[in-house]
């Protein structure tokens, strides 16, 4: 249990706007050596945070994208039987067919454990996997080691990775899982934070365009009955679209139907509703 050196503290990265609260939580989780579980609306920067931490701390980032059909062992290692069979038949590779170890490939968690330096391990969208996967994985992350059954060898972590786990889940994760994580919920940024975020992404953005698009964006988020409300990601893409259009004048965005609604609303029903609302209220 070592204290973090000041240089090892996370204070934000070039493309990510971090509030103090979140920075503190990241630092505490790193010091306590506990995984940090992040929840929040899609598009609020959960995944971005891991990228930002990796960038700020100068650590390599390893991303494990969880899929619903995934087995834990896939995240740990893979035994490449097919290559071994191939090698044993044709014998033209440099690998030693009798050494099974040559055919073990590390999965994402395995890579994080065996890496030369400390890494940031992002486990993205954990909620997609079933509960057993989640619990078993936490066991591995707790022990910081796993067994490779085929060669009867235990892989222990050389450096304990900084673990960030994201979840979009409506339902809560299991209690034992939650018990082993620190938790933070990324709330949707307010207007001021949003301005700072956009400044980071578009340093040379026209001020009128910025103010107009933020104002219209927040009004559009409030339209009733929208299934998937546009989030930061959509706003950034929208501004990109507005910038790319030479005919777009900032003053015109709020009048009539806002341009490129499809960038903000991606479900056809939402799109329709947004158009109607725009027609009715002159967003």
């Amino acid at each position: 249990m070592t204290r973090q050196e000041p240089s090892n503290r996370f204070t934000g990265a070039s493309r990510y706007v971090l509030d103090d609260e979140l920075a503190k939580i990241v630092n505490i989780s790193m010091a306590l050596e506990m995984p940090l579980l992040l929840k929040g609306e899609p598009g609020t920067g959960k995944t971005m945070l891991a990228h930002a931490i990796a960038e700020a701390l100068g650590m390599p980032l390893i991303v494990l994208n969880v899929k619903s059909s995934m087995k834990l062992v896939e995240a740990l290692y893979q035994y490449d039987t097919l290559t071994r069979l191939n090698d044993s038949r044709f014998g033209d590779s440099k690998r030693d067919v009798s050494r099974i170890e040559d055919y073990i490939r590390m999965g994402k968690i395995g890579q994080a454990f065996t890496a030369e330096t400390r890494t940031v391990l992002l486990i993205d969208e954990i909620d997609k996997a079933d509960t057993d996967f989640q619990d078993d994985m936490l066991d591995v992350l707790d022990q910081m080691e796993f067994d490779i059954i085929e060669i009867d060898k235990t892989v222990s972590a050389r450096h304990r990775p900084v673990i960030i786990i994201t979840s979009n889940a409506k339902k809560d994760l299991s209690d034992p899982f939650l018990g082993r994580c620190n938790f933070h919920h990324i709330a949707f940024p307010d207007g001021d934070t949003m301005r700072r975020i956009l400044r980071v992404h578009f340093p040379s953005l026209d001020k009128d365009l910025l103010e107009q698009s933020i104002a219209v964006f927040y009004r559009m988020r409030q339209i009733d009955g929208i299934e998937k409300r546009p989030a930061t990601r959509e706003l950034i893409n929208w501004i990109r679209a507005l910038q790319a259009d030479p005919d777009c004048k900032p003053a015109q965005i709020g009048k009539g139907e806002p341009p490129y609604l499809g960038v903000l609303f991606k479900k056809s029903q939402d799109y329709q509703r947004a158009r109607e609302a725009a027609a009715r209220r002159r967003l």
């Binding site: 989780s29 306590l32 409506k170 939650l178 018990g179 709330a187 949707f188 001021d192």
Partner: protein, 396 residues
């Protein structure tokens, strides 16, 4: 250290495990926490594992370290309702002044908090009439659908907390929108609706059981005997009608949407309709209640075994329910009072329930709720209420 704080959290239902509490102490021992602000962030991220408890945590924190009021679950709903009404009215200060019987100038002097207090006082005097008295909601004048721009389901966020004290941050109650005070939680809805799906087979016996047929036929010495089984498919048909109109349902819409979202994945045959306050001749297939009208008269042709589930607060001005042309929408005036339409539905579908997100102890104070309860069995939109509703729907 902070044992009181720990037990207070537990008492109020924040599920804090002793392990998490020890982890917090580990963080303290490591010198990671240098101020009350640090303690707030550290304790929240270590102790609280779901955003639903963030609001409760904020309140306990503010209470413990500053002596703020302890959360009072009873006051919350009134608070929400009052706030959403007030937000709506603040856009029409003249209207508000008239309704509160105050001068517009005097009104402007009040801070929003004072106004809210004053308003709540008035509201308490009139709990029954907050939908009834036409003055109070002003249904006569304008549609209360009010796209007021305020949406309680929306997020309120403090953003960067630099410079503010932790107690102040806690007092802001930024996570109120995620709180568990809503009648139902996501996890529970799925559980309860599953019960609807796990039903005994109800289809006709129309599937040939070949093994049994061969057995019986041989037993009969060659005389063919066909053995049929029930088709084991879940035959349950459900019609879900949701009150999604106006601000009187606004505090509950996130909850209703939860039910709705889950319902969609739980049933194979589910029709969802929308209405505002009560049902007249038409239900709407689209949430905007505009594009896809569905006349309820045609429901008579549907399978009477269909389960009808209505979700709504059943709170409105009495004339909306009783009067011949009660609808607040001119185009819905049909010459039949809503209560007759409801009766018709209750007769068309023998098994129907009404789920009300308002707490049951307040039902007696609203006349329209009492009237509708005589037609539909009404249950609270809570896990217990839902369980009762489900067993009611399953009754023979």
């Amino acid at each position: 250290m902070f044992i009181d704080f720990f037990y207070k959290l537990r008492d109020l239902g924040v599920q804090v495990s002793p392990t998490a509490f020890l982890t917090l102490h580990r963080a303290l021992a490591m010198g990671l926490v240098g101020s009350l602000e640090d303690f707030y962030t550290a304790s929240r991220s270590i102790l609280v594992k779901s955003e639903r408890y963030f609001d409760l945590f904020d309140q306990v924190f503010a209470h413990h370290f500053k002596g703020a009021d302890m959360p009072d679950p009873k006051g919350l709903e009134l608070d929400e309702l009052a706030r959403s009404m007030l937000e709506h009215w603040l856009q029409q200060p003249q209207e508000l002044a008239r309704l509160l019987g105050m001068d517009e100038k005097a009104l402007k002097k009040l801070t929003p908090e004072q106004l809210l207090e004053y308003f709540k006082e008035r509201l308490k005097e009139q709990t029954e009439a907050h939908h009834g008295g036409s003055k109070w909601i002003g249904t006569g004048g304008y549609s209360p659908v009010g796209h007021s721009g305020y949406h309680p389901g929306g997020m309120r966020v403090g953003g960067a907390s630099g410079g503010k004290s932790a107690v102040k941050v806690a007092l802001e109650r930024r996570y109120k929108d995620y709180s568990q005070d809503g009648p139902l939680t996501q996890a529970l809805v799925g559980e309860a609706l599953k019960r609807l799906r796990h039903m005994a087979p109800s289809g006709p016996k129309d599937r040939l059981n070949i093994d049994k047929t061969i057995y019986q036929t041989t037993k009969n010495g060659g005389e063919i005997e066909l053995v049929f089984d029930r088709d084991l498919k879940d035959k349950l048909k459900v019609i879900l009608a949701i009150d999604n109109g106006g601000w009187s349902m606004d505090p509950f819409i996130p909850v209703v949407q939860t039910v709705f979202d889950y319902a969609r994945s739980q049933f194979k045959e589910l029709k969802t309709f929308f209405f505002h306050n009560t049902i007249y001749d038409t239900l709407w297939g689209d949430p905007a209640r505009y594009r896809k009208p569905q006349r309820i008269a045609e429901f008579a042709r549907l399978d009477p075994e269909t389960r009808l589930v209505i979700v709504g607060d059943a709170s409105m001005a009495p004339y909306e329910l009783m009067a011949t042309d009660g609808s607040i929408y001119a185009e819905e005036r049909s010459g039949r009072p809503s209560i007759e339409c409801l009766l018709f539905l209750a007769q068309a579908f023998r098994r129907s329930v009404w789920l009300n997100p308002k707490p049951a102890e307040t039902w007696a104070y609203t006349r329209t709720i009492s009237a509708i309860r005589e037609i539909f069995p009404m249950f609270e939109l809570t896990i217990e209420g839902l369980e009762k509703a489900v067993s009611r729907l399953m009754q023979k």
